[in-house]
């Protein structure tokens, strides 16, 4: 399983903060993003979100493997 975390407007649209997806083989971050939206529906703004893999920012082309946590980070607004 790959654990997906959603925040702010993305979590609001999905109706949840956590989604699990089973991946047979390794997938890219970008593929996970597509699979996520197949499962929970189209998420407006997710293309503008950064992606963190196990709490570190990564690129869309990075590989995700079983047990990983993928977080979609919409533009931040702390402070």
């Amino acid at each position: 399983m790959v654990h997906i975390l959603l925040f702010a407007s993305l979590a609001q649209q999905a109706g949840t903060q956590k989604v699990s997806i089973s991946v047979d083989k390794s997938a890219t971050v970008e593929e996970i993003r597509t699979m996520l939206q197949t499962q929970v529906g189209k998420l407006a703004g997710i293309e503008g979100a950064l992606v963190a893999l196990n709490e570190e920012y990564v690129e869309l082309s990075d590989q995700v493997k079983d047990g990983d946590t993928v977080a979609f980070i919409p533009p931040v607004s702390g402070g």
């Binding site: 975390l5 925040f7 702010a8 407007s9 609001q12 703004g45 293309e47 503008g48 950064l50 992606v51 963190a52 709490e55 570190e56 920012y57 990564v58 690129e59 869309l60 977080a71 980070i73 919409p74 533009p75 931040v76 607004s77 702390g78 402070g79």
Partner: protein, 153 residues
């Protein structure tokens, strides 16, 4: 208490300050972000802050490391509150100590700018006439390259 902290409790400014005071500090610059009522003609009733807590604390720590690289004698502590905040509540307190004052101001200013760039915390404004998740206070609508300027892996 942790130097870099995401907290659901009200922030005690003095606790944050105490963590950076030491015998060779001569200057402490503190930044306190509070909940403001009016933004243009919008009236805020309350705010909600949400964070990706473990990663947010790591990113705050990273900001502390960046500051030490730029200003080697600086010591930094940051606490950001999450949850529901009322008008005038403290959302974030940053304290940076240095031997001399110029570096303290510069480093503290650097910290708040970096928080608004790389720390996964989000603010939802509850206005008198609706609510909205606020994104990207640095002014760009999204990160076209897939990552914000200066974010590093």
């Amino acid at each position: 208490m942790k130097l870099f902290n995401i907290s659901t409790e009200p922030i005690d400014n003095q606790n944050v300050i105490d963590q950076v005071i030491h015998h060779n500090a001569g200057a402490v610059s503190v930044f306190i972000g509070t909940v403001r009522e009016m933004t243009g003609d919008k009236q805020t009733k309350l705010l909600e802050y949400e964070a990706y807590v473990p990663m947010a604390e790591k990113q705050l720590e990273k900001i502390g490391q960046e500051i030490e690289e730029k200003w080697p004698s600086a010591k930094t502590a940051i606490t950001h509150r999450i949850g529901t905040l009322q008008i005038s509540d403290v959302a974030v307190t940053i304290a940076v100590s240095t031997p001399h004052r110029h570096e303290a101001f510069e480093a503290c200013r650097y910290a708040i700018e970096r928080i608004k760039e790389i720390v996964p915390i989000w603010k939802k404004e509850h206005y008198t006439d609706g609510e909205e998740w606020i994104g990207n206070q640095k002014g760009t609508q999204s990160y076209p390259s897939g990552r914000p300027e200066r974010v590093e892996k």
